[in-house]
């Protein structure tokens, strides 16, 4: 039997849900399992409901599933919101002190949710309390593991003679994760190691936490009974790392030689910039000095302006933002376009429009990004499908920027940024650095925008000997001085736009789109839907249903010829995206002039699960689906 186990921990924001989930993930990964974890949270600092689901498997996994096998909670809201996600052979570890808490006592439960919950409980004739919802779960077959967190700490404090432990509510997260690991019989030594890692800067805190962890682990393994899921470890896969969402682009930027990043704080993009600043001193081979300058600016307009200024000095430069910030950057994006500046904008999308669902997922910005900026100018829009890919793609994006002297927008999203996953260790030597026609020296007369056969001019940089040039946001001549001459205008526009064709001709097709098989039913998609699609594809294959899948990475310029050649044998096309209007579908239709047969869309702000995609695909194959399947799983 394969292991496929999903664990959920929830609690108020600020109560340590994330550190508990990180410990759980680390422990499971160290015991050889593959991990796919995902964090959901409100736009709030303290108090609102946040939760983390961690899927653990001995197989390669790329997504979450709907069913939760074990939930642990130390607050009432988590139980109210998630009790119905627990599978029939699953379990709930909960704080028995909460049994009598009714929905009215939980101020952060919003009215629409309460209404739905009350209706359900009424129909089952249960009270609006924790006891009520737990009865519903129990009737379904879910096993309940009540434990008083208060008494647990009390007993522990007496046992180790440390009165400080009594009432230490902020340790509830450690109790929760340790009880869970005890229940599933996960060997405990890696738990202790992982706590040491987590609190490595605070040895005293680590000590208390280790005591609490061992105590509650032992309590669960000796007291709780009859749980169907036992995870005792599997052989470790070599070369595996456990990474958080932004590590791909952060480490990718370091390796690609990005040495300047400007940014303005915005969820979910700023984690990357903060991480880069925390690692601003770089290690360079042969003991060379190295560093990356990370500047927090007064707004996103300044962030893109500074990035462009830095890029003009020949420095590989970047900014990282989300939709609202990118909206502010579009005027300057056009400036980078007309001035042929090599820059990379990492766009961590979230759910819009405007502030939208600021801490939730969405792929709403594809059309906006492809068309961003006034006027006609070339840009490259490139999207990564998972964290591992995003590391190598970052290298590609910087190369595209340099080779084609063009702004590149690297599309990421919140689904990726708040994931914690195991993947193959990144290999920096698989990234190459190609700076295109960037000059080392200039001799003789220099024209920054000289007309050339391939449409790309040798590039000087600010401060370089003899390389003086001019830039302007106006149309310019070969020197970079303003011109309004109609003939030069034609030549300059043609020169700039020609690099879109050049990019399509020279970027290897394997980097433009990836085919995961073509069948009668074939999916087209882009970005982070890749993971859940791959898992759903595998689930269906086990039932003998073959579904094709094309992941499109180069969104602009659109690889029309290549995608056309891929889809020609597919009879039914299914577009899967996390937005309302099927934005890739629109781009596809515009370029391929072929209709999309079905859409599977989600715009609740929560990422797709493979279960949802599996269910929808099955409906499509069985001819029971409507043209638009709208997904809604997730609290």
């Amino acid at each position: 039997m394969n292991t496929d186990f999903t664990w959920l921990i929830g609690g108020p924001q600020g109560s340590g849900v994330e550190s508990a989930a990180n410990i759980f993930s680390k422990v499971c990964a160290q015991m050889g399992y593959q991990i796919f974890g995902k964090r959901e949270f409100y736009s709030n600092i303290k108090g609102e409901h946040s939760y983390f689901t961690v899927r653990v498997s001995d197989q390669n996994i790329h997504s979450n599933v709907n069913d939760v096998n074990l939930m642990v909670s130390f607050d009432a809201e988590t139980i109210f919101r998630h009790f119905d996600e627990i599978s029939s052979n699953g379990g709930i570890i909960y704080d028995s002190e909460l049994e009598n808490t009714d929905t009215g006592r939980v101020g952060t439960l919003d009215e629409p949710f309460k209404e739905r919950l009350h209706k359900l409980l009424e129909s089952k004739n249960k009270p609006f309390t924790i006891a009520g919802v737990l009865e519903v779960a129990k009737e379904k077959g879910v096993k309940l593991y009540p434990v008083s967190f208060k008494s647990l700490l009390q007993t522990l404090s007496e046992e180790v003679d440390n009165p400080r432990l009594r009432g230490l509510v902020r340790m509830y997260n450690i109790l929760g994760v340790s009880l869970s690991l005890g229940l599933i019989k996960m060997p405990s030594n890696s738990l202790v190691d992982s706590i040491d890692d987590t609190f490595s800067k605070k040895p005293q805190v680590a000590e208390i936490n280790k005591q609490a962890a061992s105590f509650s682990y032992n309590y669960a393994s000796s007291t709780f009974e009859n749980f169907d899921h036992v995870l005792t470890g599997v052989p470790k896969q070599p070369n595996t790392i456990l990474v958080q969402g932004h590590f791909g682009t952060s480490l990718g930027k370091m390796v690609s030689g990005c040495r300047f990043q400007s940014y303005y704080p915005i969820t979910p993009a700023s984690d990357e910039s903060v991480y880069l600043e925390s690692n601003e001193i770089l290690e360079i081979e042969n003991d060379r000095p190295g560093s990356i300058i990370v500047i927090q600016t007064e707004d996103e307009i300044s962030a893109i302006g500074m990035m462009i200024g830095a890029a003009l000095t020949g420095t590989r430069s970047s900014t990282s933002t989300s939709g609202p910030g990118f909206a502010l950057m579009t005027e300057a994006l056009g400036w980078a376009g007309i001035n042929e500046v090599a820059v990379v904008i990492t766009l961590y999308q979230r759910s819009g429009p405007s502030t939208g669902l600021p801490t939730r997922h969405g792929q709403d910005d594809l059309l906006f990004t492809v068309f961003a900026g006034c006027g006609d100018f070339p840009k490259i829009v490139y999207a990564s499908g998972d964290i591992e890919e995003s590391f190598y793609d970052t290298g590609n994006c910087f190369n595209y920027a340099d080779e084609y002297q063009i702004p590149v927008i690297h599309m990421m999203d919140k689904f990726l940024s708040s994931s914690v996953v195991t993947c193959k260790k990144f290999n920096p030597k698989k990234i190459s650095i190609n700076r295109g026609k960037l000059l080392d020296k200039v001799e003789g007369e220099y024209k920054r925008f000289a007309f050339t056969d391939d449409g790309i001019s040798p590039r000087s940089k600010l401060g370089m000997d003899n390389g003086v040039f001019w830039n302007t946001g106006d149309e310019s001549d070969e020197y970079g001085h303003i011109t309004e001459d109609p003939q030069i205008r034609i030549k300059m526009m043609d020169k700039r736009m020609s690099r879109l064709d050049l990019a399509l001709k020279t970027i290897p097709v394997s980097d433009q789109a990836i085919s995961f098989g073509i069948h009668d039913y074939t999916i087209i998609s882009w970005g982070s839907t890749k993971g859940p699609i791959l898992d759903a594809q595998t689930m269906l294959k086990k039932e003998g249903i073959d579904i094709g899948f094309i992941q499109i990475k180069l969104l602009h310029p659109f690889p029309t010829e290549y995608v056309k050649s891929l889809v020609k044998d597919a009879k039914v096309l299914i577009d899967i995206e996390a937005n309302h209007s099927g934005q890739l579908g629109k781009i596809f239709k515009q370029n391929i002039t072929r209709d999309i047969d079905y859409y599977i869309l989600k715009y609740t702000g929560r990422g797709m699960t493979s279960t949802e995609i599996y269910d929808s695909l099955k409906k499509i194959v069985e001819n029971k689906s409507s043209k638009r399947e709208i997904l809604s799983h997730g609290a």
Binding site: S262, S291, E298, M306, G309, L312, K425
Partner: protein, 320 residues
């Protein structure tokens, strides 16, 4: 070979209106560059949008004509990445104090070693003379349909409270004095601001060359009645000499009070200078000790087309 003034001039046709105050500023800037002997390829002039935005095309150094209101952002990014360059940013008062006011304040807080010159004429010239941020409340320049309904920004005052560490005002028809101020501003270690009064002969019929010269005050007399005077001709001492809060506050307050003087007497010269505030590069050196020897633009990032950055320690810490 020593560089001559003409070496800093391009042959780009200058399409400013005859008599425009901008000519004086571009001349003063070229004279200042020549006097300091800054190599053409070691200086970049950044400019905003509007008449003043064309300045970078007339000067034969690196020239970056940016976006409306955003000149400081481009200039700061470039200076941070290549601190060896001399960076001068120029733009109009609408550019810097209207659409770009947020960047003006942001730049003040950083104190990056560069110079910002505002061409201050009270109108948006290139869009046919609308009121700009420095035009006074109730004034009606000739293309306004009705008197100005906004109060004016005080550029010197805003620089004082934003953290600029060299603050001065020049007059575009006193080119030699302006050149001296530019030299001081560029040599200053930190962010310099220069407010240059620059009559727009086409659209500002109030603050004209004659008005600054005090022709209206002269009446029948033959005396000089110029409104413009130089602070250095008075006993005004703008310089902070000790890192002492009392002295700093005194000098800041004095500059702010002086900036309010307007009407029959308009001060020019240096209002405030404080080299004791750490320039941004020093703040970076505190974190990255070799920043100035090894700034972003000078770093070698690859060896034979492969990256030379070693992230193996970070990757090892992520091992499971």
């Amino acid at each position: 070979m020593a560089l001559k003034l003409t070496d800093y001039k391009t042959d780009v046709h200058n399409d400013w209106c005859p008599g425009c105050g901008d000519f004086g500023i571009v001349n003063a800037l070229q004279m200042a560059l020549a006097e300091m002997g800054i190599e053409r390829d070691k200086a970049t002039i950044f400019s905003g949008i509007g008449c003043s935005g064309k300045t970078s095309h007339f000067i034969n150094t690196y020239g970056v004509h940016t976006l409306h209101g955003r000149v400081l952002t481009f200039a700061q990014g470039a200076k941070l990445a290549n601190p060896d360059m001399t960076v001068v940013a120029v733009g109009g008062d609408g550019d810097g104090l209207g659409i770009g006011a947020g960047h003006f304040v942001g730049a003040g807080r950083r104190n990056i070693d560069m110079t910002y010159i505002i061409f201050d004429n009270g109108v948006y010239g290139l869009t046919k003379g609308q009121a700009s941020p420095t035009l006074k409340l109730g004034e009606k320049t000739k293309s306004l349909p009705s008197p100005n309904t906004n109060s004016n920004v005080n550029p010197i005052g805003l620089a004082v409270v934003s953290g600029f560490t060299f603050i001065a005002r020049g007059y575009s028809y006193d080119v030699r004095h302006l050149k001296d101020l530019i030299v001081k501003a560029v040599k200053h270690k930190g962010l310099s601001f220069l407010d240059v009064l620059q009559p727009c002969p086409t659209y500002n019929d109030i603050n004209t060359r004659d008005w600054y010269a005090g022709v209206d005050l002269a009446q029948e007399s033959m005396e000089r009645h110029s409104r413009i005077y130089k602070l250095e001709d008075t006993n005004f001492d703008p310089t902070v000499n000790y890192a002492d809060e009392v002295e700093v506050n005194e000098k800041l307050s004095q500059a702010l009070i002086k900036s309010l003087e307007w009407g029959d007497k308009i001060p020019t010269g240096v209002f405030y200078q404080n080299e004791l505030v750490s320039p941004f590069s020093t703040r970076l050196i505190d974190k990255i000790p070799n920043y100035l020897e090894n700034p972003p633009a000078k770093q070698i990032i690859s060896e034979n087309g492969l990256p030379n950055t070693d992230i193996s320690k970070i990757l090892d810490s992520l091992n499971v």
